[in-house]
């Protein structure tokens, strides 16, 4: 049997032996929402062989009406029994790649976009590893028109009884571990009811799948306890928002391509030019890494979120941090890209990060000097002298930069590129017509 046959056989036997009643086929729309349809075990063998046809026009941003049918082809490597639900009616899930009926990859599929970028990097001998630190909030179940209510007022690393959400986090981590998602650290963050879970690095495709699972698990566990979990980037004014810092590295076989023993910072040329690529194209990819109107309320000074396009070793005000590895471990040399937020589409976000970095590697971009001062305290004039720009200040700004980016267009493909711009421009227009409480408070009486 070939490898694919063995994997299919493994899936079919496991379904039989574990009494799985329902298999959920998972895939992701362009905005990063998890989509799913379920099939019975009887249909599974056929699905693994030929895929399942479904109407793509029912998914936002997928196909146009006239070519609406697409195929979901399960990736048997991602088959996993779901650890929740009725033990007597076990369910399992498997991620799918989306193809046209003729078998060619469907260009509206974010998983396919990431696969293309990973293949391109692999052509050059590189494997792309990522490890995200994901922040989120727990709130009481939300009511329309009311401000979110935090569960506790605990501070950073608080271990008192006020940390009512601690047991939620514990249950979440246990569930993640049983779903092949290893957790590195978890803790209570700065803001009330804010939590962070750091995932251990994997290749980027596995990680993008893992983040889709992660967001579902966090929400499911919370909901089962009557709590609402949210990955909204800035749910509370005046406290820090939720980011998704992404630790990035490239490996060549067993060697970390970012590590150089003879460099004072242990950064290789590849690491430096990759970082230069990320910096030069940062503004272009921001609409993808920060895709909501709300994302830009997090990217403001004073809340540990980056505002300026700069890098430093241990300065958390810049866009990229180069963490100093424990005991100079060569495997741990990496870059931490700090602007993305957990409401992004992880497939597209990893794809454009890799595309930007690899552009730097291929073109041999020069790394600008390190910005180790606290950038929040510097004037615009001083920043200008250092050649340090700001990240786009709004969804509208970042869309304008993205629109002119051939790098992002190539990475996403025309289908997703155009649909994304259209969809997000209409989000911006809807936002622009909204009259906020800020405006009423400030202007109604005064003007």
């Amino acid at each position: 049997m070939g490898v694919l046959d063995q994997q299919r056989d493994y899936v079919l036997r496991t379904v039989e032996e574990r009494g799985v009643r329902l298999i959920r086929l998972w895939f992701t729309d362009i905005l990063g929402n998890l989509k799913s349809f379920a099939i019975s075990p009887a249909e599974l063998e056929n699905a693994l062989e030929d895929g399942m046809t479904f109407d793509g026009s029912s998914i936002d941003g997928f196909s146009r009406i006239q070519e609406s049918d697409v195929l979901a082809i399960p990736d048997p490597n991602t088959f996993e029994v779901l650890p929740w639900g009725d033990p007597k009616a076990t369910e399992a899930r498997v991620f799918c790649d989306i193809h046209h009926l003729d078998g060619t990859p469907f260009h509206g599929d974010p998983r396919g976009v990431l696969r293309r970028q990973l293949d391109a990097a692999r052509e050059l001998g590189y494997t792309f590893y990522v490890a995200p630190d994901i922040e989120f909030f727990y709130f009481a179940p939300p009511e329309r028109g009311h401000a979110p209510v935090p569960l506790d007022e605990g501070g950073f690393f608080d271990l008192t009884t006020t940390d009512v959400a601690g047991s939620l986090r514990k249950q979440t981590i246990r569930t993640l571990e049983t779903m092949s998602i290893p957790v590195e650290y978890s803790f209570h963050e700065d803001a009330p009811s804010q939590h962070e879970i750091d995932l251990r690095h994997t290749d980027a495709l596995t990680m993008a799948d893992s983040i889709m699972t992660f967001r579902l698990v966090v929400k499911e566990v919370a909901a089962a306890n009557g709590v609402h979990a949210t990955f909204m980037p800035k749910p509370l004014e005046g406290v820090q928002g939720s980011g998704m810092h992404v630790h990035l590295s490239l490996f060549e076989g067993e060697e970390n391509a970012f590590y150089a023993a003879d460099d004072p910072n242990n950064l290789s040329l590849v690491a430096k030019s990759f970082m230069a690529g990320l910096l030069r194209h940062a503004a272009e990819i921001t609409a993808i890494t920060n895709q909501t109107v709300n994302s830009y309320k997090r990217l403001v000074p004073g809340f540990e979120a980056p505002v300026h396009i700069s890098w430093a070793r241990n300065n958390r005000s810049g866009l990229i941090r180069v963490p100093i590895p424990k005991r100079g471990n060569p495997y741990a040399t990496r870059l931490e890209y700090r602007s993305a937020d957990p409401a992004c589409n992880p497939y597209l976000a990893f794809a454009v990060m890799l595309a930007a970095g690899m552009q730097g590697v291929k073109e041999g971009y020069e790394l600008p000097p390190e910005a180790d001062a606290n950038l929040f305290e510097m004037s615009d004039a001083d920043l200008g002298k250092l050649g340090i720009d700001q990240l786009p200040q709004s969804l509208s700004d970042s869309l304008k930069v993205m629109e002119r980016s051939s790098l992002v267009q190539d990475a996403l493909g025309d289908h997703i590129f155009e649909w994304f711009l259209r969809n997000k421009r209409s989000e911006w227009r809807a936002y622009k017509t909204h009259v906020s409480a800020f405006e009423i408070d400030r202007y109604l009486r005064a003007l």
Binding site: M1, V3, R18, E177, T178, S180, H201, D203
Partner: protein
Amino acid sequence: MDLVAVFPDPPPPEVARTLDLAGYKWHGVGGADDATRHEPANGWSGAVVAADADPDGAWALCRALRKRDAPVSPLLVLVNGSQLADLELRNDLFDDFCLTPFHPAEVEARLKHLFWRGGDGVRPELVEYSGLALNLETYQASIAGRPLDLTYMEYELLKFLAQHPGKVFTREMLLSRVWGYEYYGGARTVDVHIRRLRAKLGEEHANLIQTVRSVGYRFGQSRWGA
């Protein structure tokens, strides 16, 4: 059941009929080159070689099928009474023989027994080590009686390690032996899967897989007690 190579091509009608009735899928091969050309991707699952018409060609084929990295087995030769002497000093070239003219039921019974011995029969294979049990036939794993839900690659890695207890493997070795194909993960993917397996085995069993500093991984205790 996978594909059985049958010599010569076409085989004697009674050989073809016997195999068909016994439910084997087979393909006629005219010689060593032919056997290579028609070999399925996962290899021949066995061979039946009728030697009476062309003994030289038959033994040349047997030699070609057996003298390679993954010898074809089981291999049944069919010889007539005057060829019994040919079997001497050729014990390594076949697993069993049958005299022609043969009784179809005998050939069928011998093949059934040979395939059972080779593990292609219905016998479930178990790998057990210190509370860990792997059923290689059903792909199911359990630790201390608790079923483990594993992804395919987690299962394959655990199976490989559990089949070689006490032996140290480097990441590259595990990658080539267990993954053995182009994979997005690269060599560090082994670490990722080991970490997942330990989490699924649970704290009290996580040390079944040990990290051997700056080398790789070992399953179970070292044979030298270290």
